[in-house]
């Protein structure tokens, strides 16, 4: 059986779908092939327990590029992001720290802990705002190859330097500092309240196997601040119905432009002849031909599984083998009979926002230490949302779903037994720790879904369970993502492209790789 398409996109995650939507919108006959029975990759919602929809892996949206939202008209196709504008962090002594949507309320809460921090909070917000504005053009551009930039690369680099230079000396210095320092050190420069520092440093460690005191984590933190919601930087939100709703919206946009999307269609190989991609072979043996093949999978699958290494230069093979995945986080999703009661939560409205188990900076660093040599944190860091408090349709009336992002957990944890035992031990550590802060938790659990990094690899296809399809450390960003020379979405194989989170601008629900990848394909094959 042989069919001819202009483009085949391997992988129906949100970036694959985004790429397909742009290609289809440009009139290309496009086919998306997804291995699983559902679309979305790590941005997926599934009814794991009858009546309860879980936002299985990813759970928040913020980094989704405004241009993707507008160009694909995603609101029309069902994108509905609800701001998560408060954060609650219980402390070990029974007190808590919280921030709110309203700056005045946040300031009062900060003053309860430290007058100085209350004033510096705005100063820090200013810094993050400036940094986000400074790096914004980077997120939207195709990484030039500094070693061999070409005319376009030179022009892009000139524009970029002009932009950053125009921001003033202070911004430039701050930026270089943030690119290299640790999140903990950055916090020490601004704040004195420990729980506040821990809460603010969190974004520096998410999805990364580094502790808050490790250099480089300040950049990861900044990456999380680049999110924009309705023109407001640093805003985070949850998608109605879970993040699968984002993927569904993008898929709907792709279909509206004529893209064909198949699920349960795992690709075995990319057909390569004389250094050119000509189509794909499915695991069931079917061959499908296309002028262009795009991999939305992670770099390991893209370069090491879908094509033979002999088609690639050895340096690239080595670079991809050295690309760090190192999944560091797990996920626990709960179906709940009622709302959990956090002992320290004096203001019940905080239940609709984020709840962070990060009582102190040392707690976070210790959580890292526990897992530095394998295993998981005995008392892990958790980032929790209960989406049903704003979107009750995800569970029966009065019932709730709880999404718990957990860090740290290692890919291999043989000291806990086989994979099932590892999962159980990890899940129990999470529930036990959380119960210390919300004592009624164990009594209200109707169902529990536990995902270790290994499970994420098996179920979703994320290599080593890394949620960003490769760590977001400086050595793996921009023109080095996934490797120097292949950061422009092309590969050494002609007509074979990449558009997953393992390419620039990286992980999170951004749509950036999908969009930029598609635009490069359209440039080559205009």
């Amino acid at each position: 059986m042989s069919q001819e398409y202009d483009a085949i996109v391997i992988g129906g995650g949100h970036n694959g779908l985004t790429c397909a939507a742009y290609l289809a919108k440009a009139g290309r006959k496009t086919l998306v092939l997804e291995r699983r029975h559902v679309l979305g990759g790590a941005a997926v919602s599934e009814e794991i327990f009858p009546g309860f929809t879980f936002t299985v892996c990813s759970y928040v949206v913020s980094l989704l590029r405004p241009e993707v939202i507008h160009e694909l008209e995603l609101a029309k196709h069902g994108l509905q992001v609800l701001p998560l504008d408060s954060a609650f962090a219980p402390m070990e002594n029974g007190d808590y720290f919280a921030n709110y949507a309203d700056p005045a309320t946040t300031r009062e809460e900060l003053r309860r802990h430290s007058e100085r921090d209350a004033e510096n909070y705005f100063k820090f917000s200013q810094l993050m705002y400036e940094m986000a504005y400074a790096v914004k053009p980077i997120i939207g551009m195709v990484p030039p190859n500094p070693a061999n930039p070409g005319l376009r690369g030179l022009r892009d680099m000139r524009d970029l330097f002009k932009h950053i230079h125009g921001l003033g000396k202070r911004t430039f210095h701050d930026l270089t500092k943030i690119m290299t320092m640790s999140a903990a050190d950055l916090m020490d420069e601004y704040f004195e309240t420990d729980v506040l520092k821990a809460l603010m440093a969190l974004n520096g460690i998410i999805g990364t196997k580094l502790g808050p005191k490790s250099p480089g984590t300040a950049y990861v933190l900044l990456h999380h601040y680049m999110g924009e919601l309705d023109g407001a930087f640093t805003a985070w939100g949850g998608q109605r119905g879970g993040t699968g709703g984002v993927s569904e919206a993008i898929a709907s946009a792709a279909r509206s432009h004529g893209a064909e999307i198949r699920v349960s269609a795992p690709v075995a190989k990319v057909l390569v002849k004389n250094g050119r991609a000509e189509g794909v072979v499915l695991e069931n043996g079917d061959e499908i031909r296309a002028k262009t093949v795009v991999s939305a999978a992670d770099p390991r699958v893209t370069f090491r599984k879908l094509v033979d290494e002999k088609e690639l230069p050895p340096d690239l093979v080595t670079a991809i083998d050295n690309f760090k995945f190192r999944g560091s986080s797990g996920k626990v999703n709960l179906a709940l009979d009622a709302l959990p009661k956090f002992t320290a939560m004096k203001d019940p409205s905080l239940i609709t926002g984020m709840m962070e188990i990060c009582p102190s900076m040392d707690y976070l660093e210790r959580a890292y230490d526990d897992a530095a040599y394998g295993g998981f944190s005995k008392r892990p860091y958790m980032d929790i949302i209960i989406p049903t408090t704003v979107d009750p349709t995800m569970a029966p009336p009065g019932k709730h779903v709880m999404s718990i992002f957990v860090q740290y957990a290692s890919y291999d944890m043989p000291e806990y037994g086989d994979r099932n035992q590892q999962r159980d031990a990890f899940g129990n550590a999470v529930i036990d720790t959380l119960t210390e802060f919300a004592p009624n938790l164990k009594d209200i659990i109707l169902h529990k879904q536990v995902l270790t990094p290994w499970d994420m690899e098996q179920e979703i296809g994320l290599a080593e369970g890394n949620i960003f399809a490769g760590e977001l450390t400086l050595d793996q960003l921009f023109f080095a993502r996934p490797a120097p020379g292949v950061a422009d979405y092309r590969t050494p194989i002609r007509n074979y492209y990449q558009c997953g989170s393992g390419t620039h601008p990286g992980g999170g629900i951004t749509g950036g790789p999908g969009r930029l990848g598609a635009l490069e394909i359209l440039r080559d094959r205009a």
């Binding site: 609101a75 994108l79 509905q80 609800l82 949507a101 309320t105 023109g231 109605r240 049903t388």
Partner: protein, 398 residues
């Protein structure tokens, strides 16, 4: 001193922002928190609870109740069956709009009219020679509006009425929270929603029951700031913002006709006599000089203007009601109308505006220029004429 509605013992406690405005002589909550965004989202994702007691309400009963209402309303009220409600406008003899509201037919000869401005005298003056009784029941009823996708669930738990069988713009009398109530599937949000009227003495019982039932449906009390945003998304006009009542302005230039307001569909010229019919017929034949349109502001163009100042795109956080010039051209040579309200729509991810422009400039897809200021400097930003309502989910009617 503004008065308190029958729900004030509850709303007064819940309104932690203490942000109120005057509505027909009553205190009306603007927002319950210091920020309105949760309330806005509740209306679109779960549901919001509004206190609408200040609405003017009239009971019209008697053999010629229909005759009277048909004489006033631009729509054909004889088409309104028992158990249905109808949105209509009413005009003066020149065809200039006085007000808009709903007529609910509660019985064969029993109607309820809701209005934004006092209307008793207008009803009485028109009732000469009619066998009707007119009663101002404004203070005999306390009202709430439950609006949003989960509103049916909230109300269903505390009412014996057949809500699933109640169509869009249907009305019935039943019990809610054990007390007698008028329930209509109407609202000012363009979403699935219900309005419930009870005796003032039952107001607190109703409120408490709705809040308790609503806890399982993420219901939130909501105020005027959120309401402003959703009513613009729904393309619903607001008196004193998008138009003025012919009875409340001194100036001809501020009066408008239903045709000019995009409400021509409510004018049934071929029905029997109604006030303003001849004037409206003439206008219809001539063609109205103005028309009301929806505009979508080009935010990419707006972003480019902000970039000139080294600033990222800034979008309004709440709705605005203001008269903003609209031009046909960038150079601002040809002024063609005015915007009257606008909002960034978080759900649509669009900057939407309601504007009144010269008829020739109201074509769908047409490109106009709206004046905006950035850092105190005036610019024009392109805006496209689009269909209203901007937001119109199927659940509103389903």
């Amino acid at each position: 001193m503004p008065r308190h509605t029958p729900f004030h013992s509850r709303t007064g406690t819940l309104c932690s922002s203490q942000s109120w405005q005057e509505w027909s002589g009553f205190l009306s909550a603007n927002m319950y928190e210091l920020d309105h965004i949760h309330e806005y989202n509740a209306v679109r994702i779960s549901c919001g609870l509004f206190d609408i007691s200040p609405l003017y309400k009239y009971a019209i009963r008697g053999r010629e109740a229909l005759g009277l209402l048909d004489r006033i309303a631009t729509r054909d009220v004889s088409k309104c069956r028992v158990g249905k409600a109808m949105y209509t406008t009413w005009c003066d003899d020149e065809g200039k709009i006085i007000d808009d509201g709903t007529i609910a037919r509660l019985g064969e000869d029993h109607y309820r009219l809701t209005a934004a401005i006092p209307t008793l005298t207008w009803l009485q003056d028109n009732a000469l020679g009619f066998d009707v009784s007119i009663e101002d029941t404004s203070e005999q009823f306390a009202g709430i509006s439950i609006q949003g996708p989960t509103s049916r669930g909230v109300l269903g738990e505390i009412s014996d009425a057949d809500l699933a069988g109640l169509p869009y713009f249907g009305v019935l009398e039943g019990k809610v929270a054990g007390v007698p109530a008028q329930i209509s599937r109407t609202g000012y949000t363009g979403d699935l929603g219900y309005e419930v009227f009870v005796a003032p003495g039952d107001a607190e019982t109703l409120w408490d029951a709705v809040m308790e039932s609503g806890a399982s449906y993420a219901l939130r009390p909501a105020g005027n700031v959120a309401l402003e945003m959703v009513r613009i998304e729904a393309g619903l006009l607001l008196i004193d913002a998008d138009f003025h009542s012919a009875k409340q302005t001194f100036f001809a230039v501020q009066k408008s006709t239903p045709y000019e307001l995009g409400l021509g569909w409510t004018v049934k010229l071929d029905k029997r006599y109604f006030v303003g019919q001849e004037a409206l017929r003439r206008e219809h034949e001539r063609g109205p000089v103005k028309t009301t349109v929806g505009l979508e502001v080009d935010i990419n163009a707006l972003e480019r203007i902000y970039a000139r100042f080294g600033m990222p795109l800034h979008l309004p956080y709440t709705a605005w009601n203001d008269e903003i010039p609209i031009y046909a051209d960038e150079e601002r040579r040809e002024h063609v109308g005015k915007a009257t309200s606008g909002t960034w729509s978080p759900i649509l991810k669009k900057y939407v505006v309601i504007a009144r422009v010269q008829s020739g400039h109201g074509k769908l897809g047409g490109r106009l220029q709206i004046e905006m200021s950035v850092e105190g400097e005036r610019f024009t930003v392109p805006a496209t004429v689009v269909r209203m309502p901007f937001f119109d989910p199927p659940r509103k009617r389903e």
